[in-house]
Amino acid sequence: MARVKIDNYAVADAPRLGVRGWLRWIWRQVTSMRIALILLLLLALAAIPGSVLPQWPQQPGETKAFIDNNAVIGPVLDKLGFLDVFGSAWFTAIYVLLFASLIGCIVPRAIAHYKAMRAPVPAVPSSFARYEPSGREETDVDAATAIERARKELRPRAGWLGALTGYRIRVDERVVRDGAATTSDGKERRELAMTADMGHIRELGNLIFHISLVFVLIAVGAGTLLTYRGQAIIVEGRTFTNAAVAYDTFSHGSGFDPADLQPFTVKLDGLDAVFEDNGRPKEFTAHVTLQEPGKDATQKDVQVNRPLQVDGAKMYLQGNGYAPVFTYTDGDGNVAFQGPVVFLPQDQVYTSTGVVKVPDVTSGEQIGLKGTLLPTEVTKPGGSVSIHPDPGNPVIYFTAYTGDLGLDDGVPQNAYQLDESQLSPVRGDDGQPFVFGITLGDTVTLPDGLGTISFDALPRFAAMDLRADPSLPWLLAASISMLVGLAISLFATRRRIWLVAPMDTPTTVVEAAALAPSHDGGVEAALDRALAATSGRVPDADEEDE
């Protein structure tokens, strides 16, 4: 097989780049500003589908429905990663390339800047003719004093801090450059020349910003490894014990061992839910008793914006609702079920749905009840609705089923849904499915000798979210240094001011000039301050910077 040519020159005998040459070329391309720019624009573009299409990590239910409803395009989009944009190969590729470009750009620049900071400040140019603004000042002190005064004015603080925040200064004694080098009697004319240089901090800020960005990415990556998160529902009066199995859902990064969870307990003493008259939520507060092993129990309040701090993690109040307490007595007169059942709110007025599953009846088939809770029930022409989330007139409408609940198959089941495949509705005397309403404190007898159900109490539940991410302080630190670096790199002024004072003259005439970008409105004032300092004059009214 012929050797594969990876380059293609018009002139056959021209020297080849070779593999190393090509790699170098590719690296140079990747680290060029143009490619960084294109990658940035691509990154912005690539993120947009994540807001338009449903995403697996954020909305698994809707994403599945989207695929089901779009038989052709749905699976294609799923395959191409459009339904999990931020975990997709192409999105990852863009930001990995971008960070490669960033590092490739920032490392040489950091080295260059380090050298530039160590290099001496450039000397004063020979002639000020080309520079604007410029100025001159007569003073009766000698050149050394004049220059020293200007130095003090421009850089009041010595040491590295002064160099970092203000001007770097260089003073030379040299032969007069601008004008005759000797006097009429042949003596050499000498002068003191001072450079005040400011603005190297701009590049420093730029570097800090970009390096911090890398640390932000590292912190985020470390966070996904070390994080853990669990969701639990706690009913008023009940206690939750912290363990991976106790959570309804629990997920963790590969760097965390669930066995490390501390077995603290949280008892929900009460949940205050305050609503306005129109049903808008006003305030949610969960009163809990926290018991950490080896410590005294403490009472805490958890609110939406005030999580509970425990065991290096935070427990958030993420939701709430009702968990009505039922007692089911079967046809044989035995209590087959007693306890709270979590009903999930479906709307703003807490119309909630839930199911009661009774597998352990003494005889006969298992019982399942599908219910809808209306906290403040009002009968309207179209049927019953709830008009307020508070329990003003709580009524639960049930449909009863008998048969096999499917709990014994070993397949995990959704606790909030009834698997109706092996169930049949209980029918009333009229042959229609038996639907009944039950008010708080009531007991209803089911037809066909299926027993009775009573609605005993209506406590609330709190949906708690436990989350720990040990990378957070690092992430915050990296973000703050990023912000600081950014501000410095955009707002620091780049400016150079020169002063030249001839030595051994009867009156010293200090010449000065400055070099600054055209938008630097403060340079003239700074120049005037330096000049005024040499003679002790009060500087002209400072023009505002900018």
């Binding site: 500003m33 143009r34 960084a36 720019l37 940035l40 624009l41 990154l43 912005a44 993120a47 947009i48 994540g50 807001s51 338009v52 995403q55 990590p57 954020q58 909305q59 944009v85 931020f86 985020v220 998160r229 306005e276 808008r280 939520p281 006003k282 305030e283 949610f284 609110q303 939406v304 914006n305 005030r306 999580p307 935070k314 958030y316 993420q318 979210d465 989350r467 957070l472 992430l475 915050l476 973000s479 703050i480 990023m482 912000l483 950014l486 501000a487 955009l490 707002f491 055209s518 938008h519 409105g521 505002e544 900018e546």
Partner: protein, 364 residues
């Protein structure tokens, strides 16, 4: 309807009307100054062709200089920089420009005062900071834009941007009062945090600053296209279709562009504004992440609002890079920042109203 509510609505309607008046006055002033400049340029051409520099001419030069300076009490650079000659018509134009500018400034100032009263009254009525819903965000954000304009105006003459800023504020207030208006309500539990004060206020300020930067960039691009020569197309048929935008912008309608500074100066101004906006936006995103961590238990979850805040941040970052990239500085980088502002508007409108996400309380 209680008194505060009425006061707020009336003050904001008043501000809206005054901004509209100011916009028209600023536009008139701009076109007059452009006319003056055109006349001055024509006159100076004539003078040069005669090649005579007499004492009389220099007199008229001074006269023109003082006349134009009168027209711009702030020391406007637009007309005063090159006073060449004067004509009778220019003098009339001067008076009209002066009058228009006076009206524009008074209307903007009084409008801003009313605007402030309206926003403050809304805040007192609602008993929380006036930026928790789309309506409140709109009235506060537009107030920031006007205030930024007035503040920058104190330091340098940007009268030429007056029409754009007051126009933007008129549209924002009008839309806010008619389409987005909602009665004040208490804060939802998720919003009961001091981060609402920090996160959203900085976002509002950043939006206002980006808005003024956007106007500077838009003017920069328009002026740039007006100054440039369209490509010469020899084909008779293709000629008709070629560069219609350039044709329009070189036409009479856009003569006011003669009165705005050069693209280079506008670019420098836009950069300074966008740089401030970018730093504030970075802070907004960071503060938002901290708040999200407090309220929702995660600092970043790619919620639609978070996605678009990220997109905006990346676009403006691209803009800052483009400015210093060969081949991208100037027009292209300006277009990138225009896209960035479009994304901000998108984030505020479509993302709030159409996309489902955790930030959806913004519309309610």
């Amino acid at each position: 309807m209680n008194d505060l509510q009425q006061l707020s609505a009336m003050a904001l309607w008043g501000a809206c009307v005054l901004y509209a008046i100011a916009m028209v006055a600023y536009a008139i002033r701009l076109s007059r100054v452009a006319e003056l400049k055109g006349a001055a340029a024509a006159a100076s051409k004539g003078a040069e062709s005669q090649a005579t520099v007499s004492v009389g001419t220099s007199h008229t030069k001074e006269g023109a200089a003082s006349a134009v300076a009168d027209a711009q009490p702030t020391g406007g650079k637009a007309g005063a920089s090159k006073p060449k000659a004067t004509t009778a018509s220019a003098a009339i134009g001067d008076q009209k420009a002066t009058k228009a500018l006076g009206i524009a400034r008074a209307a903007t100032l009084v409008g801003a005062v009313l605007h402030t009263v309206g926003v403050t009254a809304r805040g007192i009525e609602a008993e929380h900071v006036p930026w928790s819903t789309m309506y409140e965000y709109t009235i506060s954000g537009s107030l920031v834009a006007v205030v930024v304009f007035l503040l920058v105006q104190r330091k340098r003459d940007i009268t030429y941007m007056g029409a754009g800023v007051t126009g933007l504020a008129t549209i924002a207030l009008g839309l806010g009062l008619t389409v987005l208006y909602q009665d004040a309500t208490g804060l939802q539990p998720a919003l009961q945090s001091f981060w609402l004060v920090i996160h959203v206020s900085i976002a509002t300020i950043a939006t206002g600053i980006f808005g003024v930067g956007f106007i500077a960039t838009a003017l920069q691009l328009m002026r740039d296209y007006r100054d440039s020569e369209p490509k010469v197309v020899s084909n008779r048929f293709l000629k008709v279709f070629h560069d219609p935008g350039v044709r329009v912008i070189k036409g009479k309608t856009f003569r006011f562009l003669e009165a705005v500074p050069t693209p280079k100066k506008l670019e420098a101004l836009a950069f300074r504004l966008n740089a401030v906006g970018f730093v504030l936006w970075t802070f907004t995103v960071m503060a938002g992440a901290i708040w999200a961590e407090h309220a929702w238990g995660r600092y970043w979850g790619w919620d639609p609002k978070e996605i678009w805040s990220f997109v905006i941040w990346v676009i403006y970052a691209a803009y800052l890079h483009a400015r210093t990239t060969q081949g991208w500085a100037g027009r292209r980088s300006a277009w990138v920042s225009i896209v960035g502002f479009a994304a901000i508007i998108m984030n505020f409108t479509v993302v709030n109203l159409v996309f489902q996400g955790l930030h959806s309380y913004a519309k309610a």
